[in-house]
């Protein structure tokens, strides 16, 4: 799949995933990989950016298996951003689909 496509939608998927429940990095990467086939290394920079932009806040929690894990939680502005992106995506998706239908009818 086109990497530019993926990049745009990745942020939305990450925001939606964390909105469901707080997640730690590796868990989030696995969750996202289920939806889009993406280089796993590229998700962490995105998490960092979203944290720097205050869409996420982080906290540490002990784990049974190893060192404490860093969990990501959606902030209020993160929720706003999620809504915004979701709305953008929905209109974009509808417009593109409508256009595809239209061009199919022409053929």
């Amino acid at each position: 799949m086109n990497t530019q496509f993926k990049k745009g939608v990745l942020e939305l998927i990450v925001l939606l995933s964390v909105n469901k429940k707080d997640m730690y990095g590796y868990e989030l990467v696995n969750e996202v990989s289920k939806v889009v086939n993406v280089n796993e290394g590229t998700i962490y920079p995105l998490l960092k950016r979203l944290t720097n932009e205050h869409y996420f806040e982080t906290y540490l929690e002990e784990s049974k298996e190893g060192p404490p894990r860093k969990y990501y939680r959606l902030t209020e502005s993160g929720r706003k951003q999620k809504k915004l992106l979701l709305a953008e995506w929905t209109t974009f998706h509808e417009q593109v689909n409508a256009f595809i239908k239209e061009s199919e009818n022409d053929e």
Binding site: G41, Y44, L46, H54, S77
Partner: protein
């Protein structure tokens, strides 16, 4: 093919521009990822392979901090990094100051320069009573205590007077500048943006203005949305947004210069640059001195006192630059 150790070393080297705790934070995420995958039965090399292009990844991490990867490339680790950080801060302050000066309209620059000159003149005249006070005090001390101890006291007296004068000088300068600045802003209600807009006709330049306003509104928006979050994150965000603002304003200014090279403007730019020279020179000299002191301390000479003085002076100097910059910043937006 890289193993975990090599990967960590590579990341550390290429992310050297990022603050240590932040760098550790992001690298820890990758280490955790590798450990989890290894516990699921993959080898370290395979996991790192699955990250894809590592340089691309590093670029994205730097991007998350608004750092230009090209700039980051030249930075090394350890002591060099510290020096680079200091220089970066200084350079950034200087650059944004310059961009603020050059993005003002010609008229206001002339007026500002004139006012600064007047203030400097007044302060130079104020030096006279200080001079008189100094020499009277010194001769009094000499006649009271005799030549031996008297001259020592006189020297101390000179020092006190000089420090007093410098403190007064700085306080007065800052005071006058800030007062003049607010006054100046009230008198001139038309924002600089309008002037800029008026002076362009080119389509491309309009694009630059659009970008500039977008940048400014984005900055304002982010700042507004940020007021409800916690204090220290506020600070961080503010820092980031001003950086972003600078970036935008710098871009816009750059485009502006390309399309509108009037002679008077260039003169003003040169004048603004000349105005900054004493500050830059001071910093350069202080940096050289610092380097020399460090070299001295390697040779075993204890110069800790001087060391702190020089560092203090560097910080003071950059504070002055950023202070001037902040006043100009207020006027700019």
């Amino acid at each position: 093919m890289m193993n975990k150790e090599q990967f960590i070393a590579y990341m550390n080297q290429h992310l050297a521009v990022i603050k240590e705790d932040e760098r550790k934070d992001i690298i820890d995420e990758y280490i955790n990822h590798i450990d989890e995958k290894v516990s699921e039965g993959m080898s370290e090399e395979e996991v790192i392979e699955s990250f894809g292009n590592i340089d691309e990844m590093i670029k994205e991490i730097l991007d998350a901090y608004n750092i230009d990867p090209q700039q980051a490339k030249s930075t090394a680790s350890g002591f060099d990094k510290k020096v680079n950080e200091v220089l970066d801060v200084l350079f950034e302050g200087f650059q944004s100051f310059l961009s603020k000066i050059t993005s003002m309209d010609v008229d206001s620059i002339v007026r500002l320069m004139f006012e600064v000159l007047v203030v400097l003149l007044v302060l130079a005249i104020l030096r006279i009573p200080f001079e008189i006070m100094e020499s009277i005090g010194a001769s009094l001390l000499k006649s009271l205590f005799g030549y031996g101890i008297g001259s020592t006291f006189a020297w101390i007296w000179h020092l006190i007077c000089s420090i007093l004068y410098i403190v007064m000088f700085i306080v007065a300068l800052i005071n006058v500048t800030s007062r003049r600045w607010t006054h100046f802003k009230r008198k001139q209600n038309t924002p600089i943006m309008d002037d800029v807009k008026e002076s362009f006709n080119f389509e491309q330049a309009k694009e630059a203005v659009r970008r500039f306003t977008e940048g400014a509104s984005q900055t304002a928006q982010e700042e507004a949305s940020d007021t409800d979050s916690s204090d220290d994150s506020d600070e961080e965000q503010a820092e980031k947004t001003t950086k972003q603002g600078h970036r935008y304003s710098y871009e816009a200014k750059h485009d502006y210069e390309n399309h509108h090279p009037s002679l008077l403007r260039i003169c003003m730019q040169i004048f603004g640059f000349l105005f900054m020279i004493p500050f830059i020179m001071t910093i350069v000299v202080l940096c050289c001195l610092l380097a020399w002191l460090i070299a001295m301390s390697f040779q075993g000479v204890t110069v800790i006192g001087f060391y702190f003085l020089v560092i203090g002076a560097i910080i003071g100097c950059s504070a002055v630059i950023s202070l001037i910059d902040r006043y100009l910043c207020k006027g700019g937006h």
